[in-house]
Symmetry: C2
Subunit: 162 residues, 2 copies
């Protein structure tokens, strides 16, 4: 099991977008530049986020991306599901209904016990991700990061808005 690399990028991008003034927009190229990421591929993740309604794209010359709603209303789960898809990680193929011991489908009223455990685990996973918002992450970054790094970030952002 392995999450795509783009998940990390998308979450960080949302955190960075959370500090952009609401009347501005940050182009994808600037976002990629801030994290030293390949801009062409990051654009793919941003498109997924825009399609999910998490960020909105502003076309035109001074365009770019901005958050579609307050950062406190965007959970990490929202971002992960937008990028990675909302399909469950465990796919039950109902192999218990095959083979020499199989009987008619009407004899399996409850889902497979294996699948129930797997899905419960995924539910717990989602629950933790849904408990943290982009705003929470932003607060954590501002308290953890060194003052020098924050100053550089502010300077860079003023440059980018120019």
């Amino acid at each position: 099991m392995q999450l795509g690399e783009g998940v990390e990028w998308a979450v960080h991008a949302c955190v960075l977008l959370a500090v952009v003034p609401p009347d501005q927009a940050l182009p994808a190229a600037r976002l990629a530049e801030y994290h030293e990421l390949p801009s062409a591929y990051l654009a793919k993740q941003l498109q997924s986020l825009a399609g999910a309604g998490i960020i909105t794209s502003v076309p035109g010359r001074r365009g770019g991306y901005r958050l579609a709603r307050p950062a406190a209303d965007i959970t990490v789960l929202d971002v992960v599901r937008a990028v990675e898809g909302s399909a469950p990680a465990f796919r039950c193929s109902e192999i218990r209904q095959r083979g020499p011991a199989a009987v008619g489908p009407e004899h399996y009223p409850k889902p497979c016990g294996v699948a129930r455990v797997m899905w419960a685990a995924e539910e717990a996973w989602r629950s933790v991700l849904a408990a943290t918002t982009v705003h929470d992450l932003l607060v954590g970054v501002t308290t953890d990061a060194s003052p020098v790094s924050i100053r550089r970030a502010v300077t860079w952002m003023q440059e980018a808005a120019r």
Copy 2:
């Protein structure tokens, strides 16, 4: 994010092995036959289980596989980690340490906040999987399955042991 198909097979195989008498062994071909699975590929998963010490392989003519320890001591997490690997699903590439706002590595004492959330979610996922054992699954199957299906399974197992 997607789990491999083999996880489902491996768990079901362990449940089936849990009902094999301790002085016998079930060949991989029989296991595959019971679930109508490609035997050659199932063998791969069984080898992973054997390598992790969950099941033991008995070579020779009347050989096969059997559980290495009581079913109550084998958690679903054990099986999943054996087949899927124990690497974390989320890989943090520390992109916060790159870009124009980056400072020296000594200024990042705590792990990245994004990674902390992701790892906490995975920990919750593992916790649920570790709370269920193969024995629990076997009990669930025997109570849920229809009597007809159980009778057929017993008959088939007697045939296989012949």
